[in-house]
C-alpha cells in the first residue's frame, strides 16, 4: 500500500519508494534515508510532531512536513 511516513502509526514500517527521491531534502538522503531502504516510525512527539524514525541504521527526528514528502510502500 502506497503512503507516506507521516501517515504511519508508531511501530509500523515501510519501504522508501524509488521514484520519490527528489522530494526528500538532500541532507536527509545523506543521513541514510535512501530509496529502497526500510523505515520505521519509532515514536511521535507530544502534539503529533516531530517524528522519531529509524532508517538504514540511523535514528533521526524529522518534522511532519518533511515526513509527508517521503513516499513509501507500507510493510
Amino acid at each position: 500500500m502506497k503512503t507516506t511516513v507521516a501517515k504511519l502509526k508508531v511501530g509500523e514500517r515501510g519501504r522508501i519508494e524509488q521514484i520519490a527521491i527528489e522530494s526528500i531534502p538532500l541532507n536527509l538522503l545523506e543521513m541514510g534515508c535512501l530509496p529502497g531502504k526500510e523505515i520505521e516510525l519509532i515514536q511521535v512527539a507530544p502534539f503529533n510532531d516531530p517524528l522519531y524514525i529509524r532508517v538504514n541504521g540511523s535514528h533521526l527526528a524529522i518534522r511532519r512536513d518533511v515526513a509527508a514528502k517521503i513516499q513509501i510502500t507500507k510493510l
Binding site: L26, N27, L34, A45, H59
Partner: protein, 702 residues
C-alpha cells in the same frame, strides 16, 4: 631545533562519534579556542608531539554528516578542506567514524576522499564491538577505501599511538579519488562541466558549482563561471540526489564483505530509555524535574563560592589600597580595576555550574531527546527545538546563551532565539531583585506556606520567560525572512558522560564568558570609575564645602568621609549625567540617584546595588543588610515619603525585567548577527517596553 617540523591536521567526523574525545586525548589542555576570521564559529586548535622532532597542530572542525553544509558550522568543514584561506590548508585529515554507524560515516569519507587529500580513517568506540557483535576486516577496508584505516577507542586511550604513526607517515597515504562521482551519472552535464573547469578534477568542479555561494576564498572569475554554468544547466538538485545514492551503493558493496554485525547481540537500552524519556507525559515530567534540579543547583551551590569571590575582591581592594601610595593610579586600581574584575569573577560559579549540566546532558545524548520533545511547542512561537539550550543558558548569562544558538540551522529561528534570549532572567538581575523585593514585599507567607517574597521572585522569572515567548511569536509574524533549512536531529546512543570531556567544555565556556563579556565589563567599569571620580569645580572643592556645611563634624571621622564621598559623587560627571536624565525617569518614580545607578548598571546589571551603596555613602559597601537599611530611610524629595515604596519598587523591578541593560550582550548580538541593526533594535525595543511598563505600573499604583 631548526629542523623541527609541524604537521597540520584537520579533525573531521559526524557528530556524536567521539571526535572531541579524541581531540582532548591527543592535546590535553594544550588547546585554545579562537574565531575564524570574519565569522563567529569557534575555532578549536590544539598542539601535541608526534615524536622527538615532529609536533602537530590539530584543528577540531565542527561535526558534520556531509561536505554539503546546512549550517554555518558545517560550512567551515567545506571551506577548510576544499578552499581554505591562506595557511589554513591541512597536511592530513583524520576522520573519526563511529563503529556502529560506519555506513553513514563513510558517506562523508567518500566525499572527502574525492577531494584528493590524504585522509586517515579512525574507527572509534572499537571497545564496543564485541558487545554489539560487530566484526571488521581492517586490511580489506584499507584496500577498498585506498587509505590508512585503524581502530581506536578515544575514551580508553587505545590505538592513539598507531594513529600518531600514521600521521607521521602521511606523505605515503594515497590521494587518489574514489570516484564516488562519475561522469556516467550524466555524460552530457559532466562533460560540459569538465570543459568549463579544465584545471579542476571533476569533483572539485562539481563542488565549485554547487557550493560557490558558500566559498569565501573562491575567485570572482570562478564564481561567475559557476553562476553562468548553472544558468544553462538546471538539474543540479537531481544530480546531487543521484550522486548520494551512488555513493551509498558503493559503500554498501564494500561493507557487505568487510563489515559484519550480529543483530541479535545489539542491546535494547536505547529503546527502553527512549520509551520513558520521550514519553508523552513522563518525558515532560522528567524534563521539568531536570530543569528544577539545574535551577536549584545554580542558586544553591553557587552562593558559597559567590560570597567567597565577593569577599576576596573586597579584601584585595582594601589590601591594595594600604600597600600603594595614595594617588590617581592607586585609585584606578582599587576602585576601578579590582571591582571591575570582581564583577566578572562573581558570575563564574553560576556559569560553570550551568554548563556542567548542559555538558552532561549533551554528552549522555539526553539533550537531543529534549529537542525532540520541545520542538513543536517552541515552533508555535517561531522558535526551534534547539532553542531550548539557549533559553536555559539564559538564566545564567545571555552571552554564552546567545552563542549556543549557533547550531540552529534556520537563520530565522536562530535570529529570533538570539533576539528574545535577553528577556530570560539572568543571574546579574538577581541581586537587584533580591534587595528591592526585601524592601517592598513583606516577609509573610501566602496561605501559611508560600513565602510571599519567593513568589514575587518566581513571578518575575515567569514574566521574563513569557515576554521572551510572546516576543518570539510577534517576531515570527513580522520578520520577513524565508525559512529554508530542514529540521533533522540525530538521536544518538545513550552514553555515560566522560568526565574529561565535561570538564573541558565547562572550562571552555567559562573562558568564553570571561574573555567575551569580561573585556567589556572591565572597560566599562574603568570608564564609569573615571566619570564617578572626576568632575567640575564643585567636585574638586568637595572637602571644603562639606566642612563649611557641617562645621560640627571632625574632618577625620568616618561620617565626614562618607559625606565627602557622597557629595563628590553628586558633583561628578556621572552625577551630572544622573541629574540630566532625571526628567526622563521621574515619571517612573526614580530620582537622579537611581539615575546614576541605572547608567552604571550598563556595565553589568548587578552594579546597580553597589552604585547605590556609594551614593548613599553606606559605610560597609559589601554588606547588603546595611545598604537595605539605608535605602529604606531614603526620602522622596517631592512627596516626603520613603523613596523605595511599593510603586517605585515595582517600577524598578519591572524595568529590570524588560530593559536591555547590558553592554556585553549587545556586543555579542552584534558579533553573532554580524550587523549593528539587531542589537540597536533590541536596545530600543526592550528599553522602550521597560519604560512603558514601568511608567504604567508606577502611575497605576501611586
Amino acid at each position: 631545533m631548526s629542523n623541527a617540523k609541524i604537521i597540520k591536521i584537520a579533525l573531521v567526523g559526524n557528530p556524536n562519534t567521539g571526535k572531541t574525545s579524541l581531540f582532548n586525548q591527543l592535546t590535553g589542555l594544550k588547546q585554545n579556542v579562537g574565531n575564524y576570521p570574519g565569522i563567529t564559529v569557534d575555532r578549536k586548535e590544539g598542539f601535541f608531539k608526534l615524536n622527538a622532532t615532529t609536533s602537530a597542530s590539530i584543528i577540531d572542525l565542527p561535526g558534520t554528516y556531509s561536505i554539503n553544509p546546512t549550517t554555518l558550522d558545517e560550512n567551515i568543514v567545506l571551506e577548510t578542506l576544499f578552499h581554505p584561506a591562506k595557511n589554513e590548508a591541512p597536511d592530513v585529515v583524520v576522520m573519526v567514524a563511529d563503529v556502529e554507524n560506519l555506513k553513514r560515516n563513510l558517506l562523508l569519507f567518500s566525499q572527502l576522499k574525492d577531494l584528493e587529500i590524504p585522509i586517515i580513517l579512525a574507527i572509534n568506540m572499537a571497545d564496543q564491538m564485541k558487545r554489539k557483535g560487530i566484526s571488521i576486516d581492517i586490511e580489506a577496508l584499507k584496500t577498498d577505501l585506498d587509505t590508512e584505516v585503524l581502530l581506536i577507542s578515544a575514551r580508553k586511550n587505545q590505538g592513539i599511538d598507531t594513529l600518531k604513526k600514521h600521521i607521521l607517515n602521511y606523505k605515503k597515504i594515497s590521494t587518489q579519488a574514489l570516484d564516488g562521482l562519475s561522469i556516467k551519472i550524466d555524460k552530457e552535464f559532466f562533460g560540459a562541466l569538465k570543459e568549463t573547469f579544465p584545471n579542476k578534477s571533476l569533483y572539485q568542479a562539481w563542488l565549485t558549482i554547487t557550493q560557490f555561494h558558500n566559498l569565501k576564498n573562491l575567485s570572482i572569475i570562478e564564481k561567475e563561471a559557476a553562476q553562468e554554468f548553472l544558468n544553462c544547466h538546471n538539474k543540479v538538485k537531481h544530480l546531487q540526489h543521484k550522486e548520494t545514492i551512488l555513493r551509498y551503493q558503493k559503500i554498501n558493496n564494500i561493507l557487505k564483505k568487510d563489515y559484519k554485525v550480529d543483530r541479535l547481540k545489539g542491546s535494547d537500552l536505547r529503546a527502553k530509555l527512549d520509551k520513558v524519556l520521550m514519553h508523552r507525559v513522563f518525558g515532560y515530567v522528567i524534563f521539568f524535574l531536570v530543569l528544577f534540579l539545574i535551577f536549584e543547583s545554580i542558586f544553591d551551590w553557587a552562593i558559597g563560592p559567590m560570597n567567597f569571590i565577593d569577599n576576596l575582591f573586597l579584601q584585595l581592594s582594601n589590601w591594595t589600597e594600604m600597600q600603594l601610595p595614595p594617588g590617581v593610579l592607586t585609585n584606578l586600581i582599587v576602585h576601578g580595576i579590582i571591582p571591575g574584575l570582581g564583577g566578572i569573577a562573581i558570575f563564574i560559579p553560576q556559569i560553570a555550574i550551568l554548563f556542567l549540566f548542559i555538558a552532561v546532558l549533551e554528552e549522555t545524548g539526553y539533550m537531543s531527546r529534549v529537542v525532540f520533545l520541545m520542538d513543536k511547542i517552541m515552533r508555535l512561537f517561531g522558535l526551534n527545538g534547539k532553542s531550548v539550550v539557549p533559553l536555559m543558558s539564559g538564566t545564567a548569562c545571555a552571552i554564552p546563551a546567545i552563542m549556543a544558538a549557533r547550531n540552529i540551522s534556520s537563520w530565522k529561528e536562530r535570529l529570533i532565539t538570539i533576539l528574545v534570549t535577553p528577556f530570560i532572567t539572568c543571574s546579574a538581575r538577581l541581586p537587584i531583585y533580591a534587595i528591592i523585593i526585601s524592601l517592598i514585599i513583606p516577609n509573610e507567607r501566602l496561605f501559611g506556606i508560600l513565602s510571599l517574597q519567593a513568589t514575587v521572585l518566581m513571578l518575575l522569572y515567569l514574566i521574563g520567560f513569557l515576554t521572551a515567548i510572546i516576543s518570539a511569536f510577534i517576531l515570527d509574524k513580522t520578520l520577513k525572512i524565508k525559512k529554508r533549512a530542514f529540521f533533522i536531529v540525530e538521536m544518538p546512543n545513550y552514553k555515560l558522560p566522560s568526565p574529561k570531556n565535561v570538564a573541558y567544555t565547562v572550562i571552555e565556556k567559562t573562558k568564553a564568558f570571561i574573555f567575551g563579556a569580561g573585556k567589556i565589563i572591565l572597560a566599562l567599569s574603568i570608564v564609569l570609575w573615571f566619570l564617578a571620580s572626576n568632575g567640575p569645580s564643585k567636585f574638586k572643592d568637595a572637602e571644603q564645602i562639606v566642612t563649611q556645611d557641617n562645621p560640627e563634624l571632625n574632618t577625620t571621622s568616618p561620617d565626614f568621609n562618607q559625606k565627602v564621598g557622597s557629595y563628590k559623587l553628586e558633583h561628578s560627571y556621572i552625577g551630572y549625567m544622573g541629574k540630566a536624565i532625571e526628567p526622563i525617569i521621574k515619571p517612573l518614580g526614580y530620582d537622579w540617584k537611581i539615575g546614576i545607578a541605572l547608567i552604571s548598571s550598563f556595565a553589568a546589571r548587578e552594579v546597580f546595588v553597589g552604585t547605590l551603596a556609594t551614593i548613599y555613602s553606606v559605610e560597609n559597601e559589601g554588606d547588603t543588610e546595611t545598604i537595605r537599611e539605608r535605602m529604606k530611610k531614603e526620602i522622596n524629595q517631592d512627596t516626603g515619603k520613603p523613596l523605595f515604596d511599593f510603586p517605585t519598587g515595582m517600577s524598578l523591578l519591572l524595568y529590570y525585567v524588560f530593559a536591555m541593560q547590558c553592554m556585553s550582550t549587545l556586543a555579542v548580538v552584534k558579533r553573532e548577527t554580524n550587523s549593528w541593526k539587531w542589537p540597536i533594535l533590541q536596545l530600543f525595543f526592550m528599553t522602550g517596553i521597560a519604560y512603558l511598563v514601568s511608567f504604567t505600573i508606577y502611575t497605576f499604583l501611586s
